[in-house]
């Protein structure tokens, strides 16, 4: 793959309710921050990708409604309905096509304005599933059950993820929900849909993010600290929950295998310095760690209990606080990429991990992690 770099990033604060900003205001803020970070003007951006979801926005063609806010006039624009990691993938392909030099990618979400359970219910099949009332949390609970029973993963091991990530969030200025928690407190939080308790679930969030990708030659002109895309892949599993082995991470394993091969990584446990993954629920961090090859299947809980994934561990996972500490859907995956870019640059601030050379960002799309997108980034082309 021709080298492509992330040359600018911007995130709004993640909040439970961004009342003072509408969608477009959030997109404008994130875009401005990414441009300022890159030291670019909007004229130097030659195409734009927006990422949004119509149901969440409560309008059709939601992507087009924010074009004014991300400087798209007279530019080639296109849109992705899905997680930010997939939108950024599309942007990457546009730059790789050779037709574009710089691409601005924007994602926005205001969970505060809709009803999350009703909207996520609508992702299920209208003939066979939707009238049963299933939603994102109850479907995730079905996955958590199968995963935890198959491998003997305890609720306490899942709770550790929540304790760790909410704790990490104290050092991330954009995080919504830093919490000083104990495993006992997570265990004592009320069941929503067992085995998932309130503190196993990510919050409803508002936020927007933007990043700028550039071709090799442009990246070197724009910044002294380009973050290079070393490997990237995505892979999809079955849509119907009953068609899948919900305890299996086969789609993630395949995406990771391809991304590692592209990046020339043979031993991710040794070669990766920091991970930002999509922990919409605490158990997901354990599953995705396994799928990414950092431990054997079913061993994610042990890896977490050992402290290796803590901020001061051998492999810090979600030093930003992850989605558990703020989950603007579709923005969340883009934030994982942005956090990794900041880590590689050494610009992550208080939650900077020391000596990061290679980072992994991960996003999901569809119910219970149907599809996975893996990004490997580093400081050298």
């Amino acid at each position: 793959m021709e080298p492509v770099a992330i040359v600018g990033v911007g995130m709004t604060e993640i909040m439970d309710n961004h009342l003072a900003s509408n969608y477009a205001d959030l997109v404008f803020e994130a875009s401005q921050k990414a441009l300022a970070d890159a030291g670019m003007t909007i004229d130097q951006v030659d195409n734009v990708i927006t990422i949004s979801n119509d149901f969440f926005d409560g309008r059709t063609i939601s992507s087009m409604a924010v074009m004014d806010a991300c400087g798209s006039y007279d530019k080639n624009v296109s849109t992705v309905e899905g997680d930010g990691t997939f939108g950024a993938f599309y942007a990457l392909m546009r730059v790789l096509s050779g037709s574009y030099e710089t691409c601005l990618v924007c994602a926005h979400h205001k969970g505060s304005e809709g009803v999350m359970s009703l909207i996520t219910n609508a992702m299920f099949d209208p003939i066979y599933e939707r009238s049963l009332g299933i939603d994102a949390i109850t479907s995730a609970a079905l996955q958590a059950r199968v995963y935890m029973e198959r491998y003997g993963v305890s609720e306490e091991e899942c709770a550790l993820v929540s304790v760790k990530n909410h704790g990490n969030a104290f050092k991330n200025q954009v995080a919504q929900l830093p919490l000083k928690l104990t495993v006992e407190e997570v265990m004592a939080s009320p069941y929503i849909s067992d085995p998932l308790k309130l503190l196993d679930c990510s919050p409803v969030s508002d936020g927007a993010s933007a990043l700028i990708l550039a071709s090799k030659s442009r990246a070197r002109q724009i910044t002294e600290k380009p973050v290079w895309v070393k490997g990237v892949a995505h892979c999809c599993d079955a849509f119907h929950l009953g068609d899948r082995d919900l305890s299996s991470t086969r789609a993630l394993e395949e995406a990771a295998r391809k991304a590692y091969a592209m990046a020339g990584i043979s031993d991710p446990g040794r070669e990766i310095d920091v991970v930002e993954l999509y922990d919409a629920f605490s158990y997901m961090e354990l599953m995705w760690l396994e799928g990414l090859g950092f431990c054997e299947r079913g061993e994610g809980g042990k890896l977490t209990s050992s402290g290796e994934t803590a901020m001061d561990g051998r492999l810090p996972v979600n030093p930003s606080g992850g989605c558990l500490s703020g989950n603007p859907v579709v923005v969340a995956g883009l934030n994982r990429i942005i956090e990794c870019a900041l880590q590689v640059r050494g610009d992550a601030g208080e939650h900077q991990v020391e000596g990061v050379r290679t980072a992994i960002a991960h996003g999901i799309n569809g119910p219970c992690g149907q599809s996975h997108c893996v990004w490997i980034m580093g400081g050298e082309a």
Binding site: L132, D135, L142
Partner: protein, 157 residues
Amino acid sequence: MENWRENQEIIVMEGRIKVPYTWAAGEVGTRYLETLRDQRKFMGTRCPRCEIVYHPPRRNCPDCFEECEDWVELGSQGELQSYTVVRRHHPQLSPLPLPFAYGIIKLDGADTGFLHILSDFQEGELAVGSRVEAVFAEEREGNIRDVLFFRPVKGVD
């Protein structure tokens, strides 16, 4: 601007999107739902190549992409592959009063699981791998809720 904000609450528009919509079940879905309604029987389709029996029935095998033309009658009992007891009632979504559960159920004769509701169980009675049976509605309309819910099969280990 800052002074102005001190005395001004942000204005929030309220709305409700309500768009009538229809979803055709298609020939495969209609045959399935009609059999459920008129005969209280579940049907699946079998892939001619990998022989996987899909339930709900599928026009094509998602695994190998062959067209599934064989129909297979399934049992109305099956194995519970996963479950979650819902602890928070949602006025617009919850299909039954609490406590109810969601389950993924692999019916006898099927190779895939399907999603449905569980009710009429005791606390702690549900288990992965346990046997459950369908309870049909008296008045059936040709939709997935013609099955009221599944419940544990009584008196069987």
